[in-house]
Amino acid sequence: MSDLSTALRDWADRTPAGAPPVAELIAAGHRQRNRRRTLVAGIATLAFAAVAVGVTLGGSGAHKPSTSSADGTAQSPAFELAAAATASEDTSFKFGIKNVLTLPAWQIDHVTTTCSGAVDPLTQNGYVKSNTPISARVVNGHRYMAKDNYWIDRGKGGVSGVLLCGDSKMPAGVAADPTTELKYLQKAGTVTKTANGYAFTGPEVQGTAKVSGGKISELSYTVTHKQTKDYPAYTRQVTMTLSGYGEKVTVSKPM
């Protein structure tokens, strides 16, 4: 049956394969390999963030008071920004995201992902559409994920952590979930007030935020990640516009 071998190889040769997605596979592998590590680290990060926010809100004196609250107490820019971020994530809003990733080790050079969507944490409705094959809808807390040409019912789970911008298989932190991104503001290392809003700087992140009506209207920042044993060095530039606060978010079931 050597003819059978030949025929199968001819068939394989005639079937176009396209370029192997090496960078995406390595990114997905990184994410999967580090999932358990990330979970453990995430708990530590949450604890750290809680402490950081506590210290910031506690008025350590690191930030110069710039405004006064209603009762006359001085507030720092960090306090104002954290308050705006908290107010923003507790109500419905629309979002638009542009995410530019550069990861030289995996030949990712300024790959841009754009997304738009809306989320309502109170009714647990939301959706995200993007220029990638991946999109998601959440209807009353029920998750539906679309990949390529079909939808999959993922069951109950809520809006948190599912409305991702870009491939969720990319390294942790590359995918931009609006509610997650807002938390950047709450643990920003140094916050200063500018003419247009706020500027913040952390160990790996620096950016600006605009506030309108007590809520975030635009968030722009750059993450510069240095090489670690888990991830190669990468740079991520994110611009988020947030609008439509308090408006009703209606999402239909895809199936």
């Binding site: 049956m1 059978l4 068939w11 596979l25 592998g29 390529d148 040409n149 079909y150």
Partner: protein
């Protein structure tokens, strides 16, 4: 063909080379195993991601090609079982393409291969495309050599049953 026991680099670069050189070959294998080009690509990607998480160990201690072949066969069975539990729909409101992308057989033999039951198709691919011995193919499929011979025999009988095949390949 890729040498089965080539020295393997345990770094990311070694993995990238492995994927780049084996991609078209294993994509075809996965596509025939699943009977669908798109399902085959998804299966291969799932397996390659898992392989990456174990790459250092597999590359250092074993044959990554054999490991990947086994993952493809087992993954195909898992996908089939998982697929029955999920609720896919034929069409999505905002997409136009159909869900699957069937393999395109060019002759009677290829059509006959795709019509074989899953296990028999796997045996044919492993024996005649991957050039595995009966023992190695049995190891990939997780069955005895005797069971593999039996499946192999039934698969060939089905292929030979096609009239065109009797003329062309008999």
């Amino acid at each position: 063909m890729i040498p089965p026991n080539e020295p393997t680099d345990t770094s990311d670069a070694g993995y990238a080379t492995f994927v780049a050189t084996g991609w078209s070959r294993y994509l075809w294998t996965a596509s025939v195993l699943t009977g669908d080009r798109q399902h085959g690509e998804e299966l291969l990607q799932e397996c390659l991601v898992k392989l990456y998480t174990r790459w250092r160990r597999v590359a250092r201690n074993g044959d990554p090609h054999a490991y990947l072949r086994r993952m493809l066969v087992n993954g195909n069975v898992s996908r089939w079982r998982r697929w029955r539990r999920e609720q896919p729909v034929a069409e999505t409101p905002d997409r136009q393409d159909s869900r699957s992308m069937p393999m395109e057989p060019h002759d009677a033999l290829q059509r006959a291969v795709l019509r074989l039951p899953r296990q028999q198709r796997a045996v044919i691919v492993l024996r005649y495309f991957e050039d595995l011995t009966e023992r190695d193919a049995a190891a990939v499929l997780g069955c005895s050599v005797g069971a593999l011979k039996s499946t192999h025999s039934r698969a060939l009988a089905k292929l030979r049953a096609e009239s065109v095949l009797l003329e062309t390949y008999g």
